[in-house]
Symmetry: C2
Subunit: 347 residues, 2 copies
């Protein structure tokens, strides 16, 4: 599991910061009409035209957000872009630019950084994003990745968290809990490997949940789908910290309650089975696992017919008046207060 | 020199990420008309109106960009904003928003983070900036600060690096080398302290150069001055890596040469004397020291009369045709090739 085994090594110290930036960005072509000027000056210059500009930022730190023992650098680069794009889609906007700042040990071979950038580039290519700037520096302790994303939307299309209304249907795209269960699997195989490096990791048949963890996809397709159906969500958020935490954000900011039905929460069979293998409750994984990067949104009941046949969107509950509480209705029919046990970086 | 000595300690683990963000940002008021929505959703929303949007980002890592042994956290917060604002001024634009991402040990007391944010807030207040988002996370790798700045300018006012013309005068604001010499002083006092913790740091009378290092000020006033004089620089860059490196950027990107006169380079007497105490050449400190965050710009000769009486702007040379080379003319009159030995984070 040594990612740098058998790779060529070029020395970062010789290349220097400007040489490295030139090397990494020279093949990158700017494509968006909102990008007036990309890399190469003190700041990039953007032309928002008549749109509002959406800005979000996320930082990924080695040892906290990722473990290089089982995270291929290309996947890491890809993921660090996706988690940012997801925030713009969650506003019902279109991301068009990113800046990427990287801190890494000067002992890192150039080839490793190139792998990381391959993943960044792949994400940019597939999601039609311009890389317009950033910062590259040495780090004394580990890999640091900070991405800022810029997106655009017409004012009337922007979807906030604080605008859910009583009676709205609660919807979520895709399925939940997979990224968390995938992480448990990777952590287990790491321990097996550390105990006996002769044993190869056993991830056979688990591709889906491993990919959910290592290579998530931001749900641009869901934003497109809603637009094509003529639906503007009444509120929206992306699922980075777990369904419970995100739904509580919507309820709190909208000053509403909710009824969430356990049996309606979409969980992939592989997630379900693997959670059980680990002695975990699949529902808890979906509620509190996080990192699924699905979209959680509310729609008016009148829009139900427009979306009811879309298998990739599940209706999992509805918004209530605030005094009705925030409830999880279990498969057995009992009512529980919904609580966030989402990921806390500080514990 | 223990910054946390005798301070109260509140546990970050108990507060959690959302609690911490709420706590740190609750008193922060949004003020710019370009800020449509600040902190509190998946992304901030900005209204560029009819302006171009300028974007830049800078990352500061403990052990590389700062040493907490002698850097007060409030100063560090202030500086991490200033270095970003400086990039927008260097485009002849006005910065209006920042996002701030912080990674820190969960062992950090809340009071330490509050100090850091006090500096961030002070910079925002003094420079009229909205804090619109960010990310707060635990770090296993020491303190990590990543700031992205957004600014605005009319297209006609934006000043790039690649537009200097033959005959243009090379100008620099303020004085150079102070931040580097201040750093040498702080490093020396740190060593003295480590050898004998009873000895208090001797920085008496050195306030100016210590401040140049710990608490730089981005040169908004120079942008304002040029505007009030009716001067649009033909090119501009900020001095973060040293005068030589920055001037070479302008020459390379503009495909021009330059003559830079050593005797014209502005160096404060305290910088000069302290450099000599350390056995350093003050000119080399100015050329290669970096972190002064002054503005280096070129103007048409016709604009000379508009600025010649401004003592805070020095005319240090002129732009030549590319084949004339990039020359430093020493005080003795000898001609040297200008070379960048600016700061390289990887060595």
């Amino acid at each position: 599991m040594d990612l740098f085994e058998n790779t060529e090594r070029t020395n970062l110290e010789q290349l220097g910061e400007f040489g490295l930036i030139d090397h990494l960005t020279k093949n990158f072509v700017i494509g968006k009409s909102t990008t007036f000027k990309g890399i190469g000056d003190d700041a990039a210059v953007l032309d928002a035209k008549d749109k509002k500009v959406l800005v979000s930022t996320d930082m990924l730190l080695e040892g906290i957000h990722f473990d290089l023992a089982y995270t291929p650098l290309k996947h890491l680069g890809y993921k660090s872009v996706q988690v940012n794009l997801s925030d713009i889609y969650a506003m019902n906007g279109i991301p068009e630019q990113i800046t990427v700042s990287i801190g890494m040990s000067s002992k890192f071979p150039l080839e490793a950084i190139e792998e990381l950038y391959e993943g960044i580039y792949l994400a940019c290519e597939q999601y039609n994003i311009d890389l317009i700037g950033g910062d590259t520096t040495a780090s004394k302790q580990g890999l640091v990745i900070s991405v800022t994303v810029l997106g655009y939307a017409d004012e009337k299309d922007i979807t906030y968290r604080n605008t859910a209304e009583e009676g709205d249907l609660i919807c979520v795209s895709g399925d939940l809990g997979g990224a968390y269960v995938g992480l448990q699997l990777l952590e287990r195989e790491k321990l097996v490997y550390l105990e006996n490096p002769q044993i190869q990791p056993d991830l056979e048949g688990k591709d889906y949940i491993v990919e959910r963890q290592l290579k998530p996809e931001a749900r641009r397709d869901v934003v497109d789908l809603l637009k094509s159906r003529g639906i503007k969500p009444t509120s929206m958020i992306d699922v980075s910290d777990g369904l419970a935490s995100e739904l509580l954000h919507i309820c709190k900011q909208s000053n509403k309650g909710c009824n969430l039905y356990e049996e309606k929460i979409p969980i992939d069979p592989m997630t379900f089975e693997t959670a059980r293998e680990f002695g975990l409750d699949p529902t808890v994984c979906a509620l509190s696992g996080g990192e699924d990067y699905e979209l959680l949104f509310t729609i008016k009941q009148a829009d139900y017919d427009k979306i009811k046949h879309d298998v990739d969107v599940s209706i999992i509950g509805y918004i209530t008046e605030p005094n009705a509480g925030k409830n999880l209705i279990s498969k057995g029919g009992s009512v529980h207060a919904l609580t966030a046990q989402g990921w806390n970086a500080f514990t």
